[in-house]
Amino acid sequence: MCATGGQEAVDELKAELKENGYDVLDATVLTTSCNDLLTKKELKPLKEAVEDSDLIVSLACGNGVQTLAKLTGKRVVPSNNTLFVGERIRGGVFEETCRTCGACVLGRTAAICPVSRCSKGLLNGPCGGSIDGYCEVDPELKCAWIEIYNRLKEDDRLDLLEEVEPIRSYINVSHPRKLNRRGR
């Protein structure tokens, strides 16, 4: 969707590298590179190329780059800069909508995320900085909290904004995070 990977992008990069005098041993698109077992399996047929390589360029997100480095033991570099978890607004336009903060508040913010869409990531309502509904930090950015207010008002749920949020604990949401759903 963002055209940062896929066969076309891989082929393009391969051609470019070749043009610049690099020896490209292989150029493959994995199903996904954040699934350890699946990636291990899909790397098997590429074993020789991986072993002979000096460097692997990954077009995956930051997560995929790390998986590859771990599984191959090779030097892996990212070709992309992982920007954000976002939404495609229209062709070629994307906006950040979730910072995977680990303590979701969407249930009381009219499904508009203040953690990622308010410049200060405020959890308790707006600062005094919005001008005509736009953010003090970026005049082209709508103030997330004014949007939340408008939506809550529409839904007749302003009582949610009236509540004082307890100060957020970062004990369980600090990094690095882990999830084990197996119970052991």
Binding site: G125, C127, G128, S130, I131, V137, K153, V164, I167
Partner: protein, 295 residues
């Protein structure tokens, strides 16, 4: 003993505070001089916290200087640059020096300041800072640990913008701040009695004290700039025209500010005023004299 600001407000007298800023450097002689001249005529000197998100000496440092000179400050505390450990530590340090008045602010974003590369913190917003101060007053820290010795005594304040669209948002935030311990409010600079009258009505019955922000205008350009750039500022056109025609703009700006203060007091539209002279602190004295408050 309660701070002078608290005493004045509690007894229902008209309170005056004036804003001063720590320097970009470490020579405090200018703000200290200004404060010494004003103290006795104002109830508190309000010291900004890295104003405009810019690097300066800290609010706490100048507050300590003031209090050691017998001058009571308001310590401004924003959430921009400190997490909860630093905020609690600074509040306790303030208490150690006998600083009682605390103004809780969310803070401007670093991007709007002179070190835009800085990592923004904002772990606590203004409301969170009030909650934190209240927790300390109760003798505990946010981690639930008991404080040693006496609990600090703070007189907590916050800010509000009377000119804001939609105003309901500001009122909701204000009510939350009151519930979290804000006993006084400083407003964004106001420039008309109508705004004051309207806001008084809107906040009828709120259990807190309101100090209207007063910014003396020095030129029509300054007024237009603030109208365009500063959230919550609305200088009426007739004031800008008056300044345009004026032969002595700075003097007339002082007069306009003094008149507004006198009328606010006369009509009992607020509990006091907070004067922000922004770089021309010498004018605070002139405004107070002109308003008959240099007592």
């Amino acid at each position: 003993m309660p701070s002078r600001l608290q005493q004045t407000l509690d007894e229902g007298s008209f309170a005056v505070s004036a804003e001063i800023a720590p320097p970009k450097g470490f020579d405090f002689s200018h703000p200290l001089e200004v404060a010494k001249r004003l103290w006795g005529h104002v109830d508190a000197l309000n010291v900004t916290d890295f104003q405009s998100a810019s690097v300066k000496a800290s609010s706490l440092a100048l507050c300590i200087d003031l209090i050691q000179n017998g001058i009571q400050p308001v310590l401004q505390m924003t959430g921009r640059d400190r997490n909860r450990i630093a905020i609690q530590g600074e509040l306790l340090s303030a208490a150690h020096f006998g600083i009682q008045n605390i103004l809780a602010l969310t803070g401007d974003h670093p991007k709007t300041g002179d070190n835009p590369q800085a990592k923004p913190v904002f772990e606590l917003d203004a409301i969170g800072i009030l909650q934190t101060a209240e927790t300390l007053i109760e003798g505990k820290d946010l981690g639930g640990n008991e404080l040693l010795g006496q609990s600090p005594e703070f007189f907590l304040g916050a800010v509000v913008s009377p000119v804001f669209d939609p105003i309901e948002v500001q009122l909701i935030q204000m009510r939350k701040k009151i519930r979290c311990g804000a006993r006084f409010f400083q407003t964004q600079g106001i420039f008309s009695l109508d705004v004051a009258r309207r806001f008084k009505e809107q906040t009828e019955g709120y259990n807190t004290k309101i100090l209207y922000g007063i910014i003396p205008l020095r030129s029509p350009g300054m007024a237009r700039f603030m109208n365009r750039k500063i959230p919550g500022i609305e200088v009426p056109n007739d004031l800008i025209e008056t300044l345009e025609k004026s032969e002595n703009k700075e003097q007339d700006g002082i007069k306009i500010a003094a008149e507004l203060i006198s009328k606010l007091k006369e009509e009992k539209l607020c509990d006091g005023v907070h004067i922000m002279a922004i770089g021309a602190e010498g004018n605070v004295e002139k405004i107070l004299k002109e308003a008959g408050l240099w007592t």
